[in-house]
């Protein structure tokens, strides 16, 4: 059994007991425990079930590489699936449940997959789903949906808060082990601004567990002293519980800081995502031990040798009473020693190497350990827990030589550097034959904006594994990084670390070497994704020769694992099956993040009210208080209508239109873009921007203008007012203000930079209110002030500055509704007061605000086009019969050349006309005008489409505008628009101006 020891546990505070629950059972642990160590201390070795076969699974590792011990953490708004028990710090009140089983961890129905495992080989889904299409809907999809996904998706809103943080450094060191500490110190001493981040709560990495001396002192003390030195340096920032999540272009690196995961009662954000720019990055990310591939290597109790050591030294927790050690290298002997020191039994050390180990092996024999060279495990016995192992010759096919009872197995297949961060941004790897691993190739580092390398590896992440070598490499990496970041480095001698002579490892990709199909089917490569040796062999046999294809076919190294444990073993098996050396197979791509980061951290502050910016006019609060129903227009929210009481939106729109046409209405038009264009060449410039001639506009007058892009297509429209000889004010659509301002600046900065023109976007300087309807003038006159707004004083298409009431106003006599209309701009700070004053003055005329829908209907009644309705990026002004707005005198304007192209000048283009249904109904939005015959796909031919369609309260019938082949030449024709139900509605082609054709009402 696994249990708490009386010895060990350097990270524990045994004075502080904490209580937690796992699958509803109450357990206790100590402050300083991880969830995994505390579960082990309570003899809860089985921590989950596997993803595909639902096999019982125990903890394998002690850190971020853990593939099995994933739990659902927390409840309600704090619920999060797939949390690693090995990296979850224990706290009082922690609640979690295990995953991938039903109804319980101990008894799981899904384990039936395990018994039919032979029928679920690699590519099972791809093969099976070739079956009849109907089977998809009724058989496969429900099954897949039920069983897909790792863990459960949260159902509640995330109760925590998150944030981002932008920071800039000369050198960022990832990993607070001894190599990282050395690198940070070297770079800091050179004067660089340094950040050192460590994913766990502790400094020193695994050096304290592995032991050894540095310059004659215990490595623990060396670590403490170095951390103290770094803390004293002003230019060095140390952050623990912060993981280097990913390395990206141009020195961008993400630091994932976990602030309250270990103490949820702390006030503050749960996670902070550091968005860092570094001149140089040092990855001191260490190495990860590899499992060995033998049958039954996934039975709970089979663990990495180093992890078993960690649990004893760091957490005072045993993983079993009798532990068989199996390895192909010397390092695993340290686990045997540690087990013995803490009073646990090691019946045998199986060394797969024919000639066995070096000095450590000799020491083991001296201490009385039974060491068997050239031996391995044929099979692990047990179901939910290891009960013993069957021993065989590594060189053979698995004939059992002896069975040994034990309740745990410590395995070690050698170590692989953590190359993830190095590889994220393109760092290349080389195969190290001696260590049998891929390590970073320093000559092919990721390069930055200046073409120079910006990532350097330190310590075990570079390849070396011995303490002395790691210290030297760490210091060198810090120096290299500081120098590359522009600092002068005086190279110092690295502290001397103890170095033991170790015999070389012998690669061992399958145990035993000649294992047959039966054993291979139980030898796991990727625990998380349930990929076995047999799956990779099958993939190779079926022709998946590229490692990237094999990965996707078998799911080896996918998902959160990203190949941490499985990568090299899987590649080796594939290479063997393909009969090629491992470097020829290569590796899959390591992708960020290193381990999953929370969605909350990615979103940062962008949630709830501030998920995205909302733009508000100065009158927004009034709209809100008066029941406006808003519609989004870009980031603005504009009132669509103002329903009263239980009035429907349609009724509100009808009321607003009738009121405006009969008396007076108000529109908050503040969102319209307003751009000042000024300079001696302003007229010439606007002649290029608009299809119309703007240079001839008289001061004091307004002109409606169209803007096209160089493709000739309409992109915006609006009224231009000439303020003085050199100054124009251009109105744009609501959504177009920033875009059109940028468009103007583009041409001024990049094409006609010798023209003397300046622009300024003053959209938000003004609150602009349209006072519309036969009584509009009376309302304004009632406000008083010096401005003459009579027919003569301010004629149609004129503008004027002056006082209205005591407001500083600019009034434009323009109309988008066909009624007598003034658009009045006042400084935005006075906008709300002006709105209130108009409401008060208009009370006797029953003045009321109208929304964007009334605006749309009224303009459609007048046959005015709307950018985005009549235009869709493929429509030219000529299509809308707007030749009147295109100057024939101008040699050039944006879009002119394009409008001369054959296709644009063709008589076959669909052109604007009005439509009236015979039955008075409203044509559906988006309807097409059908034509005789069908196209190649059997669909009915079309000859046009509707662009605006509304119920007109003024005419009490449906009206529409649309584009039709032949345009206004079709006047009087009856055509058919399709409807959603498959039927059609007949409509007559008419003049698109439905209301006040002669424009008498707006010009009074």
């Amino acid at each position: 059994m696994s249990t708490r020891l009386t010895t060990g546990g350097r990270l524990l505070n045994k004075a502080k007991q904490v209580t937690f629950s796992f699958n509803g059972k109450q357990f206790t642990g100590f402050e300083g425990d991880t969830l995994a160590s505390a579960l082990l201390a309570n003899d809860q070795m089985m921590m989950g079930r596997s993803f595909k076969y639902h096999r019982p699974r125990g903890v394998v590792a002690s850190g971020a590489e853990e593939p099995n011990a994933l739990v659902n953490m927390g409840q309600g708004g704090k619920f999060e699936p797939n949390q690693r028990a090995t990296t979850t710090e224990l706290f009082d009140g922690l609640t979690c449940t295990s995953q991938n089983h039903w109804p319980s961890l101990e008894f799981d129905v899904g384990v039936v997959n395990n018994y039919v495992a032979r029928a679920l080989p690699a590519g099972f889904y791809y093969k099976t789903f070739m079956a009849p299409a109907a089977a998809w809907k009724h058989v496969f999809e429900p099954i897949v949906r039920h069983s897909a996904g790792l863990g459960k998706a949260p159902k509640d809103r995330d109760a925590d808060r998150y944030e981002h943080f932008y920071a800039f450094f000369d050198v960022v060191v990832v990993g607070g082990g001894v190599a990282g500490l050395m690198a940070a110190k070297a770079a800091g001493q050179a004067g660089a601004k340094v950040l050192l981040m460590e994913q766990t709560a502790h400094w020193g990495g695994r050096a304290p567990v592995d032991g050894g001396k540095v310059d004659g002192v215990k490595v623990d003390d060396f670590i403490d002293a170095t951390v103290a030195e770094l803390e004293a340096m002003d230019n060095v920032t140390l952050r623990n519980r912060m993981m280097g999540a990913g390395v990206y272009d141009h020195g961008y690196i993400l630091g994932y800081e976990r602030l309250t995961d270990h103490a949820p009662l702390l006030d503050g954000p749960r996670h902070r995502l550091w968005r860092i720019r570094a001149k140089q990055i040092v990855t001191a990310t260490g190495a990860i031990e590899r499992p060995l591939s033998f049958a039954g290597n996934d039975i709970p109790g089979v663990m990495l040798a180093s992890a078993m050591r960690d649990y004893i030294v760091n957490y005072g927790t045993s993983s079993g009473d009798r532990v068989v050690v199996v390895a192909n290298n010397d390092d695993a002997y340290r686990t045997a020693f540690t087990l013995k020191i803490h009073g646990l039994e090691v019946p045998v050390i199986l060394d797969a190497r024919p000639n066995g180990g070096g000095a450590l092996a000799d020491a083991a024999r001296e201490q009385g350990f039974r060491v068997e060279n050239g031996k391995g495990i044929a099979k692990v016995k047990g179901g939910k827990r290891v009960t013993g192992v069957a021993i065989c010759a590594q060189a053979g096919e698995g004939a059992v030589l002896e069975e040994i009872a034990c309740d745990a197995v410590a395995m070690s297949g050698g170590w692989s550097p953590v190359v993830h961060l190095w590889s994220h941004c393109g760092g290349k790897l080389i195969w190290d034959e001696a260590q049998a691993h891929f390590r970073p190739d320093p000559d092919r580092a990721p390069t930055s904006h200046d073409g120079n390398a910006f990532v350097v590896t330190a310590g075990s992440a570079s390849g070396p594994l011995k303490l002395g070598d790691v210290l030297v490499d760490g210091q060198k990496a810090g120096e290299v990084a500081a120098e590359a970041a522009g600092f002068a480095v005086t190279s110092a001698e690295a502290p001397k670390g103890e170095v033991h002579d170790e015999a070389p490892l012998v690669p061992c990709w399958m145990m035993p070497q000649g294992a047959g199909p039966k054993l291979r089917m139980k030898a796991w490569l990727d625990y998380q994704n349930d990929v076995k040796v047999s799956d990779v062999k099958l993939a190779a046999q079926e022709g998946y020769e590229s490692v990237e294809h094999t990965k996707r076919y078998t799911t080896l190294g996918m998902a959160t694992d990203q190949g941490k444990l499985s990568n090299i073993n899987g590649l080796a098996v594939l290479s063997d099956a393909l009969n090629q050396p491992i470097p020829a197979t290569g590796t899959t791509t390591f992708r960020p993040p290193y381990t999953p980061i929370s969605m909350g951290a990615i979103a940062g502050e962008a949630r709830d009210e501030v998920f995205q910016p909302l733009r508000r006019t100065t009158i927004h609060d009034w709209h809100e208080a008066n029941g406006a129903f808003f519609e989004p227009v870009g980031h603005w929210r504009r009132p669509y209508c103002f329903p009263r009481g239980r009035e429907s939106h349609a009724d509100a729109v009808k009321r607003e239109i009738n009121q405006t046409r009969e008396s007076v209405g108000l529109l908050d038009a503040s969102t319209l873009g307003k751009i000042i264009v000024k300079g001696p060449n302003a007229g010439k410039f606007l002649n290029m921007m608009y299809t119309n001639m703007m240079s001839t506009l008289k001061v004091g007058k307004c002109r409606y203008g169209l803007m096209c892009n160089e493709n000739g297509f309409l992109m915006d429209d609006g009224v231009v007012a000439r303020i003085d000889e050199d100054t124009f004010l251009c109105h744009t659509t609501t959504g177009g203000a920033e875009r059109i301002h940028g468009w103007m600046e583009d041409w001024l900065q990049c094409e006609w930079w010798d023209w003397q023109v300046y622009t300024a976007n003053v959209t938000e300087q003004y609150a602009q209110i349209a006072v519309v309807g036969p009584n509009a003038r009376k309302v304004i006159e009632k406000l008083g002030g010096e401005m003459d707004v009579s027919k003569e004083g301010l004629a149609f298409m004129e503008w004027k500055d002056g006082k209205i009431g005591d407001f500083d106003a600019r009034a434009y006599r323009i109309s988008f509704s066909g009624e007598l209309s003034y658009e009045i701009a006042v400084p935005a700070s006075q906008g709300r007061a002006f709105w209130d004053a108009l409401l008060e003055a208009g009370a006797e005329f029953n003045i009321m605000p109208y929304g964007t829908e009334a605006l749309h209907v009224m303009r459609a009644e007048k046959g005015f086009i709307m950018i985005g309705d009549e235009t869709d990026g493929t429509v030219i002004p000529q299509d809308l019969n707007m030749q009147w707005a295109i100057s024939k005198k101008k040699e050039d304007f944006l879009g002119k050349r394009a409008q001369m192209r054959d296709h644009m000048a063709s008589e076959d283009r669909w052109k604007l006309a009005g439509f009236e249904t015979e039955d008075g109904s409203v044509i559906p939005d988006g309807a097409y005008i059908v034509d005789h015959g069908t196209n190649a796909n059997g669909q009915r031919n079309t000859q046009g489409r509707v662009t605006s369609t509304y119920y007109s309260p003024t005419l009490d019938r449906g009206i529409a505008m649309g584009l039709i082949h032949g345009g206004m030449k079709r006047l009087g024709d009856v055509v058919e628009f399709n409807k959603v139900d498959g039927s059609t509605v007949k409509a007559k082609v008419v003049d698109p101006v439905f209301y006040d054709k002669d424009g008498e009402k707006q010009n009074v």
Binding site: F165, Y166, G268, P269, E605, R616, A760, T763, P827, Q830
Partner: protein, 188 residues
């Protein structure tokens, strides 16, 4: 002009640092040849300050002037002085190619003060707010979360954030989130 109100009417929030809307501020966009004698004279007359260097703010007895782009300045005066300053500048720049526009009502201004102010801003803008990189009289146009904004450093160690008026609530809200207690970074 008592009827003129700023976007959020002086709202404030205190967490580990303080955020407050400063109220109405006169702001004038000036575009022209920043190197010209005429511009130097116009700026001097209207504000008492010199034309600022790249990404700097200068101050005179009447107003401050911020560098916005190679051909654009922002003059900051008392709100009720804005129109008069516009006229003065227009007069002084008569004959030169220049654009002077009152944009006082198009903006909102927030002051961020207290320990950790730099950390508050660093949560929202991709800008190096380290002491040595950004100090008093420096100005940086960037973004605050998802909207364009400008930040400048005051002599007293506080910062001012200028944004468009329509997004004042958004900017205040994201600043509020960032100064919430418990969110101290202790970095800058």
């Amino acid at each position: 002009m008592s009827k003129a109100v700023s976007a959020l009417d002086g709202v404030a929030f205190e967490g580990f640092a303080k955020v407050e809307e400063t109220g109405l501020r006169g702001m004038i966009t000036v575009r022209g040849d920043l190197a010209s004698k005429e511009m130097a004279a116009a700026v001097k007359t209207a504000t008492g300050a010199a034309v600022p260097a790249l990404r700097k703010v200068t101050s005179g007895d009447k107003a401050s002037v911020a560098w916005m782009s190679p051909d654009e300045l922002l003059v900051v005066v008392d709100y009720d002085q804005a129109e008069a300053t516009v006229s003065q500048m227009n007069e002084a720049l008569k004959g030169s190619h220049a654009l002077v526009a009152n944009v006082s009502d198009a903006r909102a201004v927030f002051r961020v003060s207290g320990d950790g102010s730099r950390d508050v801003l660093a949560k929202l803008a991709p800008v190096d707010f380290a002491q040595e990189a950004f100090g008093a009289d420096d100005i940086r146009r960037s973004r605050i979360a998802q909207v364009p904004a400008a930040v400048w450093g005051n002599d007293d160690g506080s910062f001012e954030v200028i944004c468009f008026r329509s997004v004042a609530q958004y900017v205040f809200d994201v600043l509020k989130v960032s100064v919430q207690s418990g969110g101290e970074v202790g970095f800058h």
